[in-house]
Symmetry: C2
Subunit: 305 residues, 2 copies
């Protein structure tokens, strides 16, 4: 008697709205993993769509994001942070009107604004909406910079609500694991505070330092004589200014708190330098080195896993 075979769930049709670095890399990762059915794509910029098709990042173009509601199983909003809220509002309203059961997820760097918009519009985050954020990126941008390995050994944070559909959450989790990421879930407020500290604040500091030096009377010399430590420290200042303006505005509250914590500590360090208090400096530098070395070890473990 032949064994009964469970029918395999077919690979989902995935629509990528916004064909930039993240959207393009996700499409490539899913294709390389064989974990997507048809890959649909949509972008305001016609040349991004053309490049996406030419590079076989996507299979077929959609004329508008709304078309995805009827044609895709999972819709991934990969537009800039500020545009994501309007798009999510429009798609969830249209999904409610048409009865679409497509799962909608996103990749925006800040989650609080999207959640607030959903609460205002629907009284809750709709069950088929799973807000998310892959913690990966590059100082390069655009679909031309997309690569399938971008999420490998990286985390994707999902921020499900109490009423989030369990199947929708599982499908979005599966999508990111298929793309090579590990998936963790946390509250929206935790996400925004953690990202303010580890990503948004460092970007502000890097932009701030480079602009300070560029304006200084010795600007030319400064860059001429800078070395490897400076190169690494300021790499993120080459990131897309529009994206980071939007992130800074979208995560204003948590970012201001992070800046204030940092500034308070910098004032203390400055006072120690001014006073020639070597013990205080050594204590801070040593504590920082210990924490940074632990972080390194953690990253190395993750890379091997």
């Amino acid at each position: 008697m032949p064994l009964a075979v469970m029918p395999e769930k077919p690979a989902p049709t995935v629509a990528i709205i916004g064909l930039g670095l993240i959207g393009g890399s996700l499409a490539l990762a899913l294709r390389e993993a064989g974990e997507a059915g048809e890959l649909l794509g949509c972008d305001k910029q016609a040349d991004a769509v053309a490049e996406g098709i030419a590079r076989r990042v996507i299979d077929r173009a959609l004329q508008s994001p709304r078309e995805a509601l009827a044609q895709a199983d999972i819709i991934v909003l990969c537009v800039p942070t500020m545009a994501a809220a309007d798009l999510l509002a429009d798609l969830t309203q249209e999904a409610a009107r048409t009865g679409s059961s497509a799962i909608i997820t996103d990749v925006a760097s800040v989650k609080g604004g999207l959640e607030a918009r959903m609460l205002a519009q629907h009284g809750c985050v709709p069950p088929r909406v799973v807000l998310g954020h892959p913690i990966a990126g590059s100082e390069r941008s655009g679909v031309g910079a997309a690569r399938g390995g971008l999420f490998r050994d990286h985390l994707t944070i999902l921020t499900p609500a109490e009423n989030t559909d369990a199947d929708a959450l599982a499908d979005v989790s599966h999508l990111w694991r298929a793309a090579g990421a590990s998936v963790v879930c946390m509250a929206v407020s935790t996400h925004d505070r953690v990202l303010a500290a580890t990503s948004h604040l460092p970007h502000v500091l890097a932009y701030c330092l480079v602009d300070t030096l560029a304006r200084s009377p010795h600007g030319d010399d400064v860059f001429r004589f800078a070395a490897g430590g400076f190169r690494d420290f300021t790499r993120i200042a080459s990131s897309d200014p529009v994206m980071w303006r939007d992130v800074a505005l979208a995560n204003r509250g948590a970012l201001l708190e992070a800046i204030d914590d940092f500034a308070q500590h910098l004032i203390t360090l400055r006072a120690a330098i001014d006073a020639g208090d070597g013990d205080a400096l050594l204590q801070t530098f040593t504590a920082a080195k210990t924490a940074r070395d632990s972080f390194s070890a953690l990253q190395a473990t993750r890379g091997r896993s």
Copy 2:
């Protein structure tokens, strides 16, 4: 009639005082280039000397730095910044007493303190003393981390005084070029200001950020969810705390100025975020990206040259 052949200048005997990352790497670079005669070494730590001989970083150990005055053509002080002034004072005094013509140079990250010490002691920087600073390093330290390629495609800054012996300057320049570095000369005060901006300030900011996050109530999460941008941004916070305490104290004046310039700019950026002034943020971020991209291009050119 045979052509007259100029006798080649024999490769100098070089004494490395302080067998750490920099001293060890210089010795290895000179050996690999075939540009040193005997390589002598000296360190307070007996195991550093033993490791230096075992790894063939140096050929022979000196019992004390003073022995180098009679045995070496060039003495390179590779001890920590704070120890360099005392050592330089002792060796220049002993050189004056014994009539040694050995060239003395150093690698300390801050030059002002050494210059001031020489002025106080001798009324000038002695002609055979050439203060210098290779702009290279690593967050690793110790002779075990030494590698011959450390200075390749990097700059070494020399800060000759008006009365510096031209031959001594040429010999020290040659030494660093043999080790793979490009050599530039500038005033001590310029050096200390430029390094405060491009190196000492970034280290303080990186230590400050990592320590701020480590102390925060969400410290564990923060490091768990940090990604590549954070890793690069904070790499220099793994640097040797004792070395950087000394640098911060030795370059106090220029570092405080650099911190204040930065803090002033951070206050302006914070106000723009608080006010939701996207135009101001975009202007700063764009200017910084432009400057950083130019710096990248400059570095790429240097790497190819």
